[in-house]
Amino acid sequence: MSTAAPAEHDHHEEHATGLTRWLTTTNHKDIGTLYLWFSFIMFFVGGFMALIIRAELFQPGLQIVDPQFFNSMTTMHALIMIFGAVMPAFVGLANWMIPMMLGAPDMALPRMNNWSFWILPFAFAMLLGTLFMDGGAPAAGWTMYAPLVLQTGDAFPFMIFSIHLMGISSVMGAINIVATILNMRAPGMTLLRMPLFVWTWLITAYLLIAVMPVLAGAVTMLLTDKFFGTSFFNAAGGGDPVMFQHIFWFFGHPEVYILILPAFGIMSQIIPTFARKPLFGYASMVYASASIAFLSFIVWAHHMFTVGMPLAGQLFFMFATMLIAVPTGVKVFNWVATMWRGAMTFETPMLFAISFVILFTIGGFSGLMLAITPADFQYHDSYFVVAHFHYVLVPGAIFAIIAGVYYWLPKWTGRMYSEPLGKLHFWTSMIFMNITFFPMHFVGLAGMPRRIPDYAVQFADFNMIASIGAFGFGFSQLIFLYIVLRAIRTGEPATAQVWEGAHGLEWTLPSPAPYHTFDTPPDPQLIVKEGHS
């Protein structure tokens, strides 16, 4: 398989070496790599915090950490996993894959790309630094509800500024992705020939541009309420704490689709490859993604049914939320239909993809249960909610990222990972993940509240099981780290196409993909041949 762009490009393009290379790089592949390693590190940092939580919850009573620190752990675990692990991983995959999928030489704004990455280490250094401050790290939950969050100690302004920086970074990344997709496509790469990973990222980028500034506004209001005498959320000055929840969730609900739409895109790349069939219902996938994005703006109050809301509001937000199940159902149907009568093989990316379809759907169903307003009064702020969002985020977002890494790693490194070890990683992750999170449904329905370091003794057995699962899941990820490192060093050489059923421009490039690709656009006929329609 030859490429339109000559691979002999590297030698006359000089780039710095060592640390300077990584600090100054504007190459989309380098920046993609930086994002992915950063996210991997944050995944372990956030995971370590989760294990502190689960260690404390192994038994009822207070044994390992004090309650304030426990609350810091739940807060920091969420902030780090959302903004430090999942979002940067998706941006890293976008950086690596979108230019190659579109036949573009690089991202549209390479220098801004460098900035948007290098802001992140500073943001997270600042956030993690709060662990050592007077009053401890933020402990009011990642949702930062006023007035509780205003009691945060010295950490408060640092938390706000780190969120500002994360927001600036992801808005810059999103603008770059939109500009790349709209302006850098090779001739012949029409919008409806784009791979679905590109489509879902285009929609995600618009969501980021729309809601990250709203979050920035909300946390700025918190900052001025605390330090500059404003009363946005202070009832004494005519403000209202409930308003914070409205503004926060106006950002927060679209944010959960920011965390899952790129995962849908990855699934739509992997499943057709290993089913050896084109994706079923390509156009409906695009429209379903767009409708999910649109609906995400009108459902935010389902997070706050219990604050007191008129009946009409409760009904509206309940039905609007349930409506999202329709486009999501279309997607699940299409993935299953793609597999239907396909010549399926079960390499590691496909195993993670299939478990995504099943387990994400379980998370979707518990979401539907939570959407039922009268039932939500029972589930609200219980472990059932924790079970729900971990089912959509762990076997959802994170399994998709892991699947994407296994799927594209040979293209990035030119080397195959070890398939037996990959399968071991899959089975341990999948089993331990269910051991961790499935019991949380039960304790939640039985009334165990979330965000507490101690609990009533009747919840002890299920919590012990969940904690065992969590440690198993955590250690399984060390296998993943080992697999990636081993593949980079000693993996078998990969072919250009890597997977027998893989289609798309990126698979026409040699493995590893040269430092510069598609300096001259690919042949339009190649686009048609590799494309969806």
Partner: protein, 178 residues
Amino acid sequence: MSGPDKKTETHRLVAKLLVVVLAMFGFGYALVPLYEIICEVTGLNGKTGQVSLAGVTGPDTSRVITVRFTATVNSAAPWDFQPNDRVMEVHPGGLYETSYQAKNRTGHLLVGQAAPSVVPREASLYFNKTECFCFTRQEFGPDEVRDMPVQFVIDRNIPAHIETLVLSYTFFDITEKG
């Protein structure tokens, strides 16, 4: 498409997207007045009507509504605060007056402020105050005790099924904010 063309096109797109970013930042702040308006129009949150004489149309003696008064001090601030009447029986359309008493329990100057709220929410749309100590700073000298009057009228259009409503005040210490 040639190189420079693509560049200007990209820059134009980026400029547009930056406008969206700024607009959405503004939108976050616009949600604040929007929220106030929605609360006012729908009576959500039990926010009471404006200080106005609207609704004083003479008592409708065919109906009696029980108004209960409650008082809360926020965050255990050093005040005593209670209503002087616990319950009043009133006719819609008539003008009534009651008062709340507050006492500064400290030996120094305190500044307080009260926020009112009415339940049921639906009733708040028909509950108008013609005079109120809420939403203005109340300065109290050392150990000062003072009655603070409230004049109110319940609109005649209040739905027939509402027979009782509760007016509650929460008193906040805003001495530090001055």
